[in-house]
């Protein structure tokens, strides 16, 4: 499977992985902000 990938596909894989992790961490920060705001409201 991996041997079939072209150079451009490896490059795309690396950059897409970078973007996915960035977006994933942003999503986590958003979730954490909402969770903290909810828990503060309940107190």
């Amino acid at each position: 499977m991996w041997a079939d990938l072209t150079q451009n596909q490896w490059v795309a894989l690396a950059w897409v992985e970078l973007l996915v992790v960035y977006v994933g961490y942003l999503g986590y920060l958003r979730w954490l902000r909402n969770k903290k705001a909810r828990s503060e409201g309940e107190e």
């Binding site: 990938l5 490896w10 490059v11 690396a14 992985e17 970078l18 992790v21 903290k36």
Partner: protein, 247 residues
């Protein structure tokens, strides 16, 4: 009372500079990707695979910065015992975990087509894997301890251990036999073995990765201070003001 409510509201509203920083990160990411994927010439040996290097090296450098800054705040927490220092250390430790995970996975993607293997247990890669495990351990330990001061102190010591491993990791490619390429940019002033056109693209990518790191850490600290800031505001409130308001 109104001033307290106002300051609490302000602490939960994202400041304008942070929003602008986020927009700068988006623009910067688009520019750095364009430079790396379109403008940069292909490498004489690696061809287009050199375009992975811009993503991999930039996050690796920022990973080192994040660990060092997390270590600095951890040391300050051990020294001063302020809760805010612990919040800042955690924010940087989270960024260090994100960037170290990116360094390892990006390195594996870079390694397979260039060196024909995803992974090898040599010094450089093993030290990086240990660093990721220690940072993950930092958060596992924090999750297991309920008492805030003890949690902060023990996790701060773990982060300082991670910081001690940084110089060994940085110099591992020179000190030990490893598949990892030697540094192309030597911070000891012995020179740069990289084409200037590629160096410029790399430095832009490092700057943008640093900008994104700043945004992540700033936003994480802001969220972490939600539960710290109001208490600090109450502590600062002078007693005489309360008397006047009640009267």
């Amino acid at each position: 009372m109104n001033s307290t409510v106002s300051s609490q509201y302000k602490s939960r509203t994202r400041p304008l500079w942070l929003t602008l920083l986020g927009l700068a990160c988006l623009v910067g990411l688009a520019v750095s990707a364009y430079l790396a994927l379109v403008v940069s010439p292909p490498d004489v040996n690696q061809g287009d695979l050199i375009r992975i290097m811009y993503a991999h090296v930039s996050v690796a450098w920022i990973c080192f910065v994040a660990v060092a800054v997390a270590g600095l705040w951890s040391a300050l927490y051990l020294w001063r015992g302020r809760e805010k220092d612990d919040v800042r250390a955690v924010a940087n430790a989270e960024a260090a975990l994100v960037y170290s995970a990116l360094t390892i996975t990006g390195g594996m993607i870079y390694s397979k087509p260039t060196l024909n293997t995803f992974w090898t247990w040599d010094a450089k890669l093993t030290l990086t894997a240990i660093m990721v495990a220690l940072i993950a351990g930092y958060f596992i330990v924090r999750a297991l301890i309920d008492e805030p001061v003890r949690r902060g102190r023990i996790s701060a010591v773990i982060m300082l251990i991670v910081v001690v491993s940084l110089p060994f990791n940085y110099l591992a490619a020179e000190w030990f036999r490893t598949l990892h390429p030697a540094k192309s940019i030597n911070l000891d002033g012995s020179g740069v073995t990289m084409d200037p056109s590629m160096l410029r693209v790399l430095l832009v990518n490092v700057a943008v990765a640093g900008l994104i790191y700043l945004y992540f850490v700033s936003e994480r600290i802001r969220i972490g201070l939600f539960s710290v800031a109001p208490k600090a505001a109450e502590d600062k409130q002078p007693v005489s003001t309360e008397v006047v308001r009640v009267g």
